[in-house]
Symmetry: D2
Subunit: 345 residues, 4 copies
């Protein structure tokens, strides 16, 4: 079986990561083209990795017959158009999260993908992390009995620039950060029936000016009656704090870690270690494993690990939780469809 | 200043612990009398610790002029009567949690204590644990900036016998276990405005037969707008799992530990350690520090560290959370007063 | 069986601990008398614990017919005389480590104890620590197969005052600190055949003025061919660092811990916890368990857990290691007997 | 500055790792050729990475004008010849450890490299590990004051096949495993003056048949009077156990970690995690950083981070320690030169 020729659309921080991984670290993948509107990013990348075609427009890249598959890593507001263009061109698609700004857009993208019959992988890198993979195996092996409660902590070390906090751009804290945890909920526990969320702009009062919050607590009841908690924060100033626990009838699992560098410092001040700085460090391996999974499945004509329907399901939970937080009441996930045209994630 | 002569009413597991601590480990305390209806407990205790007067009825103990103070460790249903009797006799009172089965009873006890003008300490041992004391000091010293979110996990290693799970006896899971966490919320964050809880009999379906649940997740909004989460479970089959985190604007604190014996076993199966088995081991020091605090404050005529009003405040949160769980809606803590005559903690 | 009436000789830091434990925390023990040459210590103790007879001279205490057993916690230089006096009076003896300043003295004490036929317990509290007890059980249960290497770290948080570092008083670093680890070697691995030690006054050059060192590394070959390492230091400025590892053919054990208070502080500086400050905190439980073991065995007429012969065996290893360090060569433990009249531990 | 064209000689486990890293993960490096005597390894590699020239003989690769630098990863017995050939061809040289089987060979290689004036990097990957790099920076920043003792543990999860344990091939346990720790000693503490080692075939008695041991303890005195301990073992059956501690006058550092996958399993059996399996996983990042360092320095005409003299210095310590273990006496490192023609590392 020959290698897969991939193009990367969008050369921001995440796009560069995917491009480098595809160029250098993914067996059976060839990075053949990249596209970005910004000339300096294109130039920088062309210098770094020779022999890759460089386009200013994603449409030109999509016309390139050499390109069999694309990783779409543009800003969220453009995802709908680029995905629909890529589907129309028959390319296999890897779409970075979040899928779209509104649920309505996501449904439209889903229909376009289904109509074109193209391969579509929705990126949720945590599912490919060694810890979560090991946890899934332990649960499936019955090590902790039946899972009855899942608790998730997701905490960023600082807030994004205010313009990226604007819910019209980010979907708001609950959608922007929580969507990963809601997806994990679906992975480990099942579909969510109801959510209840509370939140506030507590650490960065200036977030109120753009209508966002910096801390939120979300409780979930799954359709099978089991429970979930998602705790979100932008003020883990010490580092990147991603933890999940799964509580079963015969035991529990903890996934996550704090320490980054394998060194302890022991002085009169106590024993100290550093902390994983941010998601690039925490999920470096997961990002690589995920894009490898995409390449392998496209090459072998296997179905994607995560679909547009998975993205929509997590988005609906995000929307319902955001609604709950705003309205101060328990919300059924099915109520999210009424918000289909509102901001999602 | 002379020693304080203390009597212990109730010689069950906790009563015996207090009695032994008072007899052997609390400086400036003298255990002078114990009372219990059960002859075998009385006899066993008299054999173990000679020179202590033994009564079958708490009323006889309260009549004993030698007794200056009493620790009330009887079953919860009797707390109201014993406290009111002790107040009438002018004894300084240490009352084990929970204060009473109903909020109405608690208010009545509060009035009796106030009317008699006696010293009344409400037991919440976690406030006297080295970890929580250190955390309080760190917060007061500004180490983590302003606390904005508190998250608590309280998990028992097994469920109580079904007859003790009956909410008419225990107050139900949320009141029985959560009252400690609600009190910690008041210690670290302030008064609670609203609560939202979800729960279920997920690990022990037989709990449904007595109307109780075994897992619950409670979210709180404090009156100052900060947030709290309490996660309760009866199925931490690996051991006793008590953890609290306080998230501030400049850092976070984690209180709690798992490992009991200081030994790691490293074999082909991985690296393994044991776990704190239950509350007696986890809070051994806190129980001792708390009763010492009681003795010291009575002797020095200082006000109690924790009052009946503190117990009532935690009880109101428990009631509101229980109500929220049953009715599937966010509940204001002030609504608890309408349940004053219902089951509390 | 009635309680055991115990007297404590020596009311320094360790003596006070034993006296309080015997008075308050050891079932079936009665503290009936204490003795110390210092009037202020006697007075302070009489005030703290009423009802205990107080003597200035150990001879007076030994004449007291009420006293059935004694804990000897005087300065090492007096151990020989006090033990021989106690043996002559027929008292059961608990002797704090180190047994004596010279091996010759120790042999003399052993003969006196044997001649009098009295119970003699040599104190090595680590053998009664929960971690070491658990390790012994794991080894005996075969969890790690056959132990082949033992490694020990013993590090003090600061150096003693120089006058106590003088090898004529302390025996020197290797004897003073290492004797615990040599005893553990005998507990877990067997008798020692040869030792090789290196050391230096590296952190506190002023120790050279009294002829002592502050760091040493000792390697041992046991008679069965297995190996041991003892690493000693006075400059663990962060806290008290006591660790042992046992490496077997099927796994390993680590005994020890650093964290004292169950709280983690997470700030921009990293994640920090405190450390066990010193031996009183690390071995609080072991000191209590050991004296309880002494009381129980005397009462039940069982043989002591640790004998004078055990002390002498550990002392011989200390002496041989000290000799090795001074002479820069591998030394057979049997060579220690030639130093019988020199400084030991 | 253009990329560096590198050839890899030897395609065994380590050679394949270097080749893949150079082909895919090292910026500014181009893998242009590989050489191995084994046809199947050549074929497998040609299939995996197209566009790389494949040679059966290292001499042919060295004649290739495209090749500017070579990584020599052949069996140790061939290092001398290949290094001398590469030096004669003027190639920059990266030489995998151990440098040679005898000290005499190493000196000869050193002279050949010096005469040819070529770049020569001796591989000791630990120096490039994030933990050791962070430790070096902490020490240099004075965080722990003056280092006075260094302790190293290096334990393999299993023994090599007996034919590779033969000291004529491996140099024996102390040289084969310990050379890394001896090099760390030079990195952190300085040159070694004397060593004393004990060891035995304790876990795998069959090692005696080839004249090797499976456990050893080595104590070192550095020329500046500070101390070091190296503890070596082949029976860490639970995983790969690499730890270093540096004890200073103001604090200590611990480098190393056990846990591999970020997941804790909590069941009735206790809390369990897995362990780093072997050196490929533990030092994956260090191997990459080291070869990158080689490429960068050759390209920038900077001196190598580690030279042939560094290798010889560590080898001399290995030899002296091996001699000490065999002869049961303390050995000066300078005595190793008398063994220059014996087996080294």
């Amino acid at each position: 079986m020959s290698s897969l020729n991939v193009g990367v659309i969008g050369l921001g921080r995440m796009g560069s990561l995917y491009a480098r991984n595809l160029a250098q670290r993914v067996p059976h993948a060839r990075l053949v083209a990249v596209a970005d509107q910004k000339a300096d990013l294109r130039e920088q990348f062309a210098n770094e990795l020779g022999g890759v075609k460089v386009y200013a427009s994603h449409l030109d890249l999509l016309q390139d017959k050499d390109v069999e598959a694309v990783a779409i890593v543009t800003s969220t507001s453009t995802h709908k158009q680029v995905v629909m263009d890529a589907a129309a061109c028959g390319k296999a698609i890897f779409c970075e999260k979040p899928m779209s700004l509104s649920l309505a857009d996501a449904y439209e993208m889903l229909r376009a993908v289904e109509k074109a019959g193209v391969f579509f992988h929705m990126a949720f890198q945590r599912r490919f992390d060694a810890g979560y993979l090991a946890a899934k195996k332990k649960v499936d092996d019955g090590v902790i009995g039946v899972p009855v409660v899942m608790t998730c902590v997701s905490r960023d070390p600082f807030r994004p620039p205010l313009e990226f906090c604007d819910p019209k751009v980010s979907g708001g804290l609950i959608a922007d950060m929580g969507v990963h945890d809601f997806d994990l909920g679906r992975m480990f526990m099942g579909e969510v029936a109801t959510v209840n969320a509370v939140g506030g702009a507590l650490a960065y009062p200036e977030m109120k000016s753009v209508g966002d919050i910096d801390n939120a607590l979300v409780n979930m009841v799954f359709e099978n009656g089991t429970l979930g908690s998602v705790q979100l924060s932008r003020n883990a100033v010490f580092g990147y704090d991603i933890r999940t626990e799964i509580w079963g009838t015969k035991g529990s699992l903890q996934i996550g870690y704090f320490q980054h560098t394998p060194i302890l410092v022991m002085t009169r001040e106590g024993i100290t270690h550093d902390v994983v700085p941010h998601f690039m460090q925490r999920f470096e391996g997961a990002y690589l494993t995920q894009i490898q999974d995409f390449v392998d499945r496209v090459r072998k004509a296997e179905p994607p690990s995560l679909t547009a329907a998975d993205a929509i399901a997590a988005m609906r939970i995000s929307l319902a939780a955001t609604m709950s937080c705003r309205e101060g009441r328990t919300v059924r996930v099915s109520e999210a469809d009424a918000m289909a045209h509102g901001i999602a994630s």
